[in-house]
C-alpha cells in the first residue's frame, strides 16, 4: 500500500475534480424542474439588491449630467457695467471647480418673455429692471463632493464686489446627497441580507440533496471514497446554483430595465432631458457571477459538512 508520488496524486486529484464536475452537472440536468426553481429563487434574491444598485448608479449619472441642478445664480448689483460683469465672469470661470456664463439684462428679458408668456406686459417696463446675472455651474471632481464645492463657491462669491445676492438651493442638494447616501447604505444592507438568503437557500437545497442521496453517499463510502470525494459533487452543485442564480439575476434585471426604459425616457423627455438608462457593466457583472458562485459554494460547504457529520455520528454511513 505504498502511496504514489506527488505528481501522480495531483493528477488523480485533478481527474476526481473533473469526474465530480461532470457528475454534478449531470445531476442538475437530470432534476431540471427542481434546479430551475432553486435558480429562480436565487435569481430574484440577488436581483433585488442588484436592482437598487443599478437604480442608484443611474441616479448618480443623472446628477452628473444635470449640472443645472447645482447651478448657483449670482445677481449683480444693478448698474454694474457690462465690462465689470464680464470681468467677474472670467474670474469665476478661471476657477477649476466652476464654469460661469454671464447673462445680460437684455438676454434675461428675452428668456423671461419666452418662458412666461407675459410678452406685451413686459414691453411696458421701459427701463429693463433685470440686473446682470452670472450662472455658475460647480464642477466637482467627484459627484459626492458637489455640496462641498457649492458651499465653497458660495462663500467665495459672496466676498466678491458688485454682487447683490447669491442664490443656491443647497438644501435641495443636501437632500439629494443624503438620499444617495441612504440609498448606498441600503444597497449594502440589502446585499448583506440577501447574501445570507442565498447562502441559506443553497445550504437548504444541498441539505435536501444530500438527504435524498444518502444511499449514494453510503455506497460511495463503502467502495472507498474519502470525505473529499463524497463532498465534491455537492460543492460543485452549490457553485452551479449560485452561478446560475447570479446569471438569472442579471437577466432578470436586463428584462426589467428594458421594460422600464421606454416609460422612463418618456418621462425624462417631458422634463427636456435625454438620458440613457445604464445596466450592470461588464466587470460588475463578472463580480456578481463570482459572488454568486462563491456564495453557492459556501452554502453547499456548510450543508455538506454538517450533514456528513450527522450521518457518521448516527452510523448511517456504510451500513451493510
Amino acid at each position: 500500500m505504498k502511496r504514489p508520488g506527488i505528481r501522480l496524486r495531483f493528477r488523480a486529484w485533478l481527474r476526481r475534480q473533473l469526474y465530480s464536475f461532470f457528475s454534478s452537472l449531470g445531476t442538475l440536468l437530470s432534476h431540471r424542474v427542481g434546479t430551475l426553481m432553486t435558480v429562480v429563487v436565487l435569481g430574484i434574491a440577488m436581483a433585488l439588491p442588484l436592482g437598487l444598485y443599478v437604480a442608484l448608479t443611474n441616479l448618480n449619472a443623472v446628477d452628473l449630467k444635470q449640472d443645472s441642478w447645482g447651478t448657483i445664480t449670482v445677481f449683480l448689483q444693478s448698474g454694474t457695467s457690462a465690462a465689470d460683469a464680464r470681468e467677474l465672469t472670467a474670474r469665476i470661470d478661471a476657477r477649476q471647480d466652476a464654469n460661469a456664463t454671464a447673462i445680460s439684462p437684455e438676454a434675461g428679458m428675452e428668456d423671461f418673455r419666452d418662458a412666461s408668456g407675459f410678452g406685451p406686459a413686459l414691453d411696458m417696463l421701459s427701463p429693463n429692471p433685470l440686473p446682470w446675472v452670472i450662472e455658475v455651474r460647480p464642477q466637482p471632481d467627484r459627484t459626492d463632493r458637489l455640496t462641498l464645492v457649492v458651499e465653497d463657491l458660495t462663500g467665495w462669491l459672496q466676498s466678491q464686489e458688485a454682487i447683490d445676492s447669491v442664490v443656491v438651493d443647497t438644501k435641495w442638494l443636501q437632500r439629494l446627497a443624503g438620499l444617495l447616501a441612504v440609498g448606498n447604505a441600503l444597497v449594502t444592507v440589502l446585499a448583506a441580507l440577501f447574501s445570507v438568503a442565498v447562502l441559506v437557500v443553497v445550504a437548504n437545497t444541498i441539505r435536501l440533496d444530500v438527504a435524498n442521496r444518502a444511499d449514494e453517499i453510503e455506497v460511495l463510502s463503502l467502495v472507498g471514497a474519502g470525505n473529499g470525494f463524497i463532498r465534491l459533487p455537492f460543492l460543485y452543485s452549490g457553485f452551479w446554483y449560485g452561478l446560475l442564480g447570479a446569471l438569472g439575476a442579471l437577466l432578470l434585471l436586463r428584462v426589467c430595465l428594458a421594460f422600464i426604459d421606454g416609460p422612463l425616457s418618456g418621462l425624462l423627455d417631458a422634463y427636456g432631458n435625454r438620458f440613457e438608462l445604464s445596466g450592470v457593466g461588464f466587470v460588475p457583472s463578472l463580480a456578481v457571477l463570482a459572488t454568486g458562485g462563491l456564495l453557492g459554494l459556501g452554502g453547499a460547504w456548510i450543508a455538506v459538512a454538517r450533514y456528513l457529520r450527522a450521518l457518521r455520528r448516527d452510523g448511517l454511513l456504510g451500513r451493510i
Binding site: M1, R15, T27, D215, V219, G224, G226, G318, I320
Partner: protein, 228 residues
C-alpha cells in the same frame, strides 16, 4: 492477508456480537463464513472494512493493524478490498458502466483506463452488452453481477461478499460461486459470508462457522478444492 487475533465486538447496549475470534486467511486463500443470521457474520465483515472497530483484540489486513489506524485511512483500506453486498448497493441513477467505474473514479484513473478496465470487468461477469443499461432494468442476478464487477474492477487483493446469493435461484448461485473460484485462482483472497450450506459443502472450500458470536468450527478445504 486477513488475521483476527482475539477479536471481540460489543455494541453499545451490551450485545456481544463477536467473542474472541481467531483465524487467519493467507494470501490467495478462499473461505466461506457461515452461521445463522445474527451469528456475527456481518459484524465480522464490517470490522474488516473498518465500518466498526473491534472492542478487544486486533484485526489485521495486509499486515496493517486496523485498530491502530485512524478513521481517515478507512477509504484507503476499502479501496484495497472488493466488497459484494447482498442488496447489491448499486446507484439507481447511474448506468451499469458508471456504477462499475466508481472505484476507479475514486482512485482518479484516466478515463481511457477506466473504460478499458470497466469493460474487462463487465466482460468477466458476462454483462458487457448491458453497460449502458440502468440497474433497475436488470434482473436480480444481473444486478448482483454488476456488484461483483464493481468489486473486482479495481483488482483488489481481497474480495469480501455478504450473502451474495441471498435471493438467487440455485443455478445462479452456483455460477456465482464458480466465478468467485475463478477469481480466487487468479490469486485474490476471497471471504464469502453465506448460509447456503448445501452449496458451500459442494464447493469443498474452507468453512468458518460462527454461532452466537463465537467461531465454533474451522473446516479445512478438501483436497483438490472439491467439485463445482
Amino acid at each position: 492477508m486477513i488475521r483476527f487475533e482475539h477479536v471481540s465486538k460489543r455494541y453499545p447496549g451490551g450485545i456481544n456480537a463477536l467473542t474472541d475470534i481467531n483465524f487467519e486467511l493467507v494470501q490467495g486463500e478462499m473461505a466461506f463464513l457461515t452461521g445463522h443470521s445474527g451469528a456475527g457474520k456481518s459484524t465480522l465483515l464490517r470490522l474488516i472494512l473498518m465500518l466498526e472497530q473491534a472492542t478487544r483484540g486486533q484485526v489485521l489486513v495486509e499486515g496493517r493493524n486496523l485498530s491502530r489506524l485512524s478513521m481517515r485511512t478507512a477509504p484507503r483500506i476499502r479501496q484495497r478490498i472488493g466488497m459484494i453486498f447482498q442488496d447489491h448497493k448499486l446507484l439507481r441513477d447511474k448506468t451499469v458502466f458508471d456504477n462499475v467505474a466508481l472505484p476507479l473514479m475514486i482512485a482518479g484513473l484516466r478515463y481511457a483506463d477506466i473504460r478499458k478496465r470497466v469493460r474487462a470487468a463487465l466482460d468477466k461477469v458476462g454483462l458487457l452488452q448491458r453497460e449502458r443499461a440502468w440497474p433497475l432494468a436488470l434482473s436480480g442476478g444481473e444486478q448482483q453481477r454488476v456488484g461483483i464487477a464493481r468489486a473486482i474492477v479495481g483488482m483488489p487483493p481481497v474480495l469480501l461478499a455478504d450473502e451474495p446469493t441471498g435471493n438467487l435461484d440455485p443455478e445462479l448461485s452456483a455460477s456465482l460461486f464458480q466465478l468467485f473460484r475463478e477469481l480466487n485462482s487468479l490469486g485474490v483472497t476471497v471471504l464469502i459470508a453465506s448460509h447456503d450450506l448445501a452449496l458451500i459443502r459442494r464447493m469443498g472450500q474452507r468453512v468458518l462457522v460462527l454461532s452466537g458470536g463465537s467461531l465454533i468450527d474451522d473446516i479445512p478445504a478438501l483436497e483438490g478444492g472439491g467439485a463445482a
